[in-house]
Amino acid sequence: MAGQPVCAGVGKHAAPTAELMRSIHLTMVRIRRFEERAVELFMAQELPGFLHSCLGQEAVPAGACAALREDDYITSTHRGHGHVIAKGLRLDRMMAELFGRTTGYCKGKGGSMHIADFSKGILGANGIVGGGIPIAVGAALSASMRKSGQVAAAFFGDGAANQGSFHESVNMAAVWKLPSVFVCENNLYAVSTHESRQRLVPDVSARAAAYGIPGVTVDGNDPLAVWAAVTDAVARARAGEGPSLVECRTYKWLGHYVGDPGKYRPAEEVAAWKANDPLPRYERELEARGVLPAAEAERVREQVAREIEEAVEFARRSPHPRPEDALEEVEA
């Protein structure tokens, strides 16, 4: 099925507008800068816990969420910073959560792996690989039963595609023709294990055939390719034709978690993917398209850098929880 147009039965997406392309760029810069800063802060031991960086993968969340409505739902993963930023939450409250402060989205109870903003349809990152996929199916079921026109997108990795929850969820969504989109971020590895040791079929999208839904594999370092595929999948979902599986091939620059040297990855592989950095590549494209002159892109980066610094300051200034706060919000 790989390569089959995901929009089977739906008219192809229109061309992206200049405004859309610029907003995707802004999102990518936000994710990039946020992650760079988070890594620095983590190294400086300002952040508790551990961190799964999505540096290098920015094009997937930016392109995918640009295809979603503000009221659409997403479920995310342990590597979820990009998804939630792209879905539009506030960077200051997100950074505050990484710091474990009361002003954080989860009041310091969740941290990096559990960022959620229900007001933006962000149903939560998740510490359980595959854990968010069935939840997205439930959100899609709810949307269809409430006839709200919302779509639910589940982000997950190449490793997660081998979990039983992936199988059960995609099958259920397919049978019920739910308005859902399954977005696989294939970064070639699950921790140290290369996809070739996790799966015989080259493309995760080939699994769509097992559920009778469209599957497609796109260049996950090309935000417009991601946007186009997800846009078609979303159109299909909203049209009541059911889910699609969109595989985006990309790469994470750092190891599995910040601090993991990632020795299991060949240096040339890492180098090649870094050379294929989605951000400058996209900026070159936007400049070529006359959508975003280099100087403008530079201004965006500066503005975002300021925005992130303010978020860091906000987080640092924010109060720590009181120990007893741990006893709140256990039961409804």
Binding site: P134, I135, G138, S165
Partner: protein
């Protein structure tokens, strides 16, 4: 009052709640036209249709997860896991997601989901279809756990469960579905955390769960003939747990038996006994006695199954040993 089956009480509770609130819907295996393995959803599909009485693919993890996702986004699902033994397949969604998402999201997630399932031995269905695992769920913060013993409680507690704003494990008992009992004609709810003193007594307190409540009442009747006065208490929910009622009774009797089908080791009996000791040790004249499922898998052959699952006789013996 009308006299109905436990399974009808479950069905009536679901019907009333579905009529009252269109956000309430059911999903699970063969709960639709088939009416559920124990016929507890019989007739609901005819009234509410495919949308609100959803037969699912054979995928417990997705059933539970879809219920969690639907609950977080404005609906009030009641997901059926056919046997509590099969929650082992849905455990991540129940324990790591449903029970924790509200907390992990700093109170944002609102997850009014009910997981209906049934437990218990007594049908020679062997080790994978006869467990009583309430203690597992009681161990996990964020879940409420209800165990109705009568049609009246099944209806009143289930309506409360559906209206609860958080995840509830609603654990029925497979041998109770065809038991009958009086149920009020008018609408009623039974609050969580309020024990039922099924029978007052002064010599010994018996706290029993689920079907063991009936065995305890039998035992009490038998003991009364011998002049022994037994107080039978059914907590009805183990989370929240009405320790006040239990402690008050133990203060009166000084003797406590805890009875349930679940494995004794690390079962609810240990928790109740420990809390009694922590808060009422000095009113205890004798050690608490546990009358529980033995620490073995449930065997198939009736003679062995009856041996590992306690009945009224074991309660009678335990009570006498305390005197």
């Amino acid at each position: 009052m009308s006299n109905i089956f436990y399974k009808e009480a479950v069905r009536d509770a679901l019907r009333e709640e579905m009529r009252r609130d269109e956000r309430v819907f059911l999903l699970g295996l063969d709960i639709g036209r088939f009416g559920g393995t124990y016929k507890a959803t019989d007739g609901l599909w005819e009234e509410f249709g495919d949308e609100r009485v959803r037969d699912t693919p054979l995928s417990e993890a997705a059933i539970a997860g879809a219920a969690v996702g639907a609950a977080m986004t404005g609906l009030r699902p009641v997901a059926e896991i056919m046997y509590i033994d099969f929650t082992t397949i849905a455990m991540d969604q129940i324990v790591n997601q449903a029970a924790k998402l509200r907390y992990m999201s700093g109170g944002q997630a609102h997850i009014p989901v009910v997981f209906r399932t049934q437990e218990g031995a007594g049908r020679s269905s062997a080790a994978q279809h006869a467990q009583s695992l309430e203690a597992w769920f009681a161990h996990i913060p964020g879940l409420k756990v209800a165990l109705p013993a009568t049609p009246r409680d099944a209806k009143g507690l289930l309506k409360t469960a559906v209206r609860d704003e958080g995840p509830v494990m609603f654990i029925e008992h497979k041998l109770l579905y065809n038991s009958r009992g009086e149920v009020p004609e008018d609408e009623y709810l039974i609050p969580f955390g309020k024990a039922n003193v099924c029978r007052e007594g002064s010599d010994v307190t018996v706290v029993a769960l689920s079907r063991m409540v009936l065995r305890a009442i039998e035992a009490a009747a038998e003991l009364e003939r011998e002049g022994i006065s037994v107080e039978v208490i059914d907590p009805r929910t183990v989370v929240p747990l009405d320790m006040e009622t239990i402690l008050a009774s133990v203060e009166k009797t000084g003797r406590l038996v805890v009875a349930h089908e679940g494995y004794e080791r690390c079962g609810m009996g240990a928790e109740i006994a420990t809390q009694v000791m922590e808060r009422g040790l000095y009113s205890l004249e004798k050690p608490v006695r546990r009358v529980c499922g033995r620490n073995v898998p449930v065997p198939f052959a009736p003679v062995m199954e009856n041996y590992v699952i306690p009945g009224a006789a074991e309660i009678v013996r335990a009570v006498k040993e305390l005197l």
